[in-house]
């Protein structure tokens, strides 16, 4: 299952994060459910990896498990390795993971209001990161907070540090959260739906900001979103997840121009595009994502797939390499008709 994850991308640097056969289970009242099952991927220094999928596909759980932030005691990593700079994060002590969380891997959440503490001033929350990880005085920490706020494009940062989160707009709050994630110059930033709660013109500002900061600071980014447009415009590599498993992975050219999995194709065809003639019927994927407690046997997409054969409901496909680092988890990917771009 891991064979395809080895990339020989000429542009990427060293492998920063290597997730191997990750499985995450939740102990629920209704029984043990496997929310993530056999997921493998790599991310190189300075690259952006997009994880895309519909609600419940396991993309956020994958991200949370990298930092061991799964809700306890229900969730736990059941199998697999998460190698960050060669160190297996599933095995290290709580002290080590704490250092990684705040110093080396930053996290940006969807809803900035829940990621910020409403009763503390912005400056105090930002200073915390510096006080914890750098041997500085509170005054220097506050100065650094002003600097980092300036960097994320917040006007008059010296005034903003003494304000509370509710005094800022949604876009500004998200900038503060980004500032917090970047405070200690992490090597990797995990952004879980960072722009979903924002308006489209503000989303454009935030995505642009993240791109600029990446160019300047050279960090890697894992961007989790349900929006294929956001993925296409920001990511080097893409992981398409469905019902807890990898459906397809590859660079964004592979995924958008040579999609090999029926699910990836269905997603690309079902989004309305500005170029389509109005009021035409959209292609759809029939049915809906199965619940974690009643996953179909075999391929988890088989009950919605137009290319289903008997084998699909018996045997689960593994990720096979179709070309280079482009991997697909489908028994029939070779037999699928040639892909026709929805918009030329």
């Amino acid at each position: 299952m891991t064979s395809t994850a080895t990339s020989n991308s000429p542009t990427g640097g060293e492998v920063l994060l290597d997730v191997q056969d990750l499985a995450v289970e939740f102990d629920t009242e209704a029984g043990l459910v496997r929310a993530v099952d056999g997921v493998s991927f790599q991310i190189r220094a300075g690259q952006t990896l997009g994880i895309v999928g519909e609600s419940g596909c396991g993309k956020s759980v994958t991200a949370l498990s990298i930092l061991r932030l799964l809700p306890r005691p229900m969730g736990h990593i059941a199998a697999g390795r998460i190698l960050f700079r060669g160190q297996d994060l599933t095995q290290v002590s709580d002290d080590v993971i704490h250092k990684v969380r705040t110093g080396q891997i930053g996290m940006i959440f969807q809803e900035p209001m829940t990621a910020l503490n409403p009763v503390h001033r912005i400056g105090k929350q930002l200073s915390e990161a510096f006080l914890l990880h750098q041997d500085v005085t509170p005054r220097t920490a506050l100065e650094r907070s002003v600097e980092v706020l300036k960097k994320v494009g917040i006007p008059s940062p010296e005034i903003r540090v003494s304000e509370y989160p509710h005094q800022l707009s949604g876009g500004m709050r998200q900038r503060v959260v980004i500032a917090m994630a970047l405070a200690c110059k992490p090597a990797l930033v995990i952004a879980d739906e960072p722009t979903t709660a924002l308006d489209v013109t503000i989303q454009a500002q935030i995505l642009e900001l993240m791109k600029e900061l990446q160019e300047e600071m050279g960090m890697s980014i894992i961007l989790i979103t349900h929006d294929l447009g956001v993925i296409a415009e920001t990511c080097d590599d893409v992981l398409v997840m469905y019902a807890g498993r990898v459906a397809e992975q590859g660079n964004s050219e592979d995924i958008f121009h040579r999609p090999a999995h029926p699910y990836t194709r269905g997603l690309l065809e079902s989004i309305p595009r500005l170029e389509y003639p109005r009021k035409t019927k959209l292609r759809t994927i029939d049915g809906m994502v199965p619940g974690l407690l009643d996953m179909p046997a075999g391929c988890r997409f088989n009950n919605r797939c137009g290319y289903r054969v008997d084998r699909c409901s018996v045997e689960a496909p593994v990720v096979e390499a179709c070309a280079g680092a482009h991997g697909v988890s489908c028994h029939r990917w070779r037999e699928l008709p040639a892909w026709k771009e929805p918009v030329s």
Binding site: E54, S55, S169, G171, M172, D199, V200, T201, I202, Q203, A204, Q205, L207, E208, H226, D227, L228, G229, V230, I231, A232, E233, C235, S252, E253, I255, F256, H257, G266, L267, L268, S270, I271, P272, R273, L274, Y276, R278, K279, T280, K281, L282, R283, T284, I285, D286, M288, V289, V343
Partner: protein
């Protein structure tokens, strides 16, 4: 047809902003500020804008869920803006609404059957047997099993719940449905199913839609004409294809350029707007977009540009509220 089904004229909906010990109104939040818009029978008018632009308030004003402050809402010639609740009742049958989050808009303690039966009871239509028949028929039309009748909303997925919301909206054979972000809470693969259903129902039942959403690609796909709203004003309106191909207002251009396209590495020029939407409690003088406009001139900060027709007239008009021809 040459007569509009709905004609909104200079509609204003203001909310008082209260404060102080006595909760006196200190200021006005001008959510909708002088909007004119017409919908002809059988057509879809898409209303696009970012959060806080007043698009939902406009929709709610049309069904009189909020009372407009000024202006007229002519539905087949009758002004709904000033009607009493009693006189409004027959029109409520004609204009229905679909909400964004079906989990919030459906009563969790009622079965699907009783919810769908309610409109018939309120308006005194049919007996128990015929009502049951109508409910079964409605479920079939929106693609749900008849067994759904005895089940509760929580037993359904988001997409199915939105189908229930749609069934309830079409129950009394309305002429106009206000769709307020009907697909934005749904996943991509489910969103296209619901959009197809709405398109299909429009053809079968000759419905008119006011389709409100923040996603321009979705709105353009389902609409004949579209209107772009910003800070309580319509800044551009016209045929959907034309507004997309030849946007005339700087805000429309920025909006189109900000939409992420599912095509990698296009290296296209993106015009990123600086700043944020001003507050409707304290809007800037002159053009509402003047604080963010890349082409701003002194006149923009003084005079509110009227929505003027730049091509075509009446239903075919392409109108823009900008002092300049870009």
């Amino acid at each position: 047809m040459s007569v509009p089904l709905l004609e909104i004229q200079d509609l204003c909906t203001y909310f008082p902003v209260r404060g102080g010990v006595l909760l006196r109104a200190r200021a006005q939040c001008k959510a909708v500020d002088g909007v004119s818009l017409s919908i002809w029978p059988g057509e879809t008018v898409g209303l696009v804008g970012e959060s806080g632009c007043g698009k939902s308030t406009l929709g709610k004003s049309v069904v009189r869920l909020v009372k407009p402050t000024a202006g007229r809402i002519l539905f087949e010639g009758t002004d709904l803006a000033t009607l009493s609740v009693k006189h409004l009742k027959p029109f409520r049958r004609q204009i229905q609404m679909i909400f964004q989050d079906p989990a919030d808009s459906l009563n969790s303690r009622h079965t699907v059957g009783s919810m769908l039966e309610e409109p018939f009871i309120i308006h005194g239509i049919g007996d128990e047997a015929s009502r049951h028949e109508s409910v079964v028929e409605l479920l079939k039309i929106v693609g749900l099993q008849a067994s759904a009748i005895d089940r509760f909303p929580f037993e359904f997925s988001g997409g199915q719940r939105q189908r229930i919301g749609i069934a309830r909206a079409i129950a009394l054979n309305p002429k106009l449905i206000i769709c307020d972000e009907p697909v934005s809470a749904l996943d991509a693969s489910i969103q296209s199913q619901v959009l197809n259903l709405l398109l299909d129902l429009q053809q079968r039942l000759n419905l008119s839609y006011l389709f409100i959403a923040h996603d321009l690609a979705v709105v353009k796909h389902v609409s004949d004409r579209i209107a772009i709203m910003y800070l309580g004003h319509i800044v551009e309106s016209g045929d959907g294809e034309e507004v997309h191909r030849q946007p005339r207002h700087p805000y429309t251009r920025a909006l189109i350029s900000a939409i992420p396209q599912p095509i990698p590495r296009r290296g296209r020029y993106r015009q990123v707007l600086t700043g944020e939407v001003p507050s409707p409690i304290n809007p800037p003088p002159g053009c509402p977009f003047s604080t963010r406009c890349p082409h701003v001139q002194p006149v923009c900060r003084e005079k509110l540009p009227p929505l003027r027709e730049v091509a075509g007239t009446g239903r075919e008009a392409h109108a823009v509220a900008c002092h300049f021809d870009l």
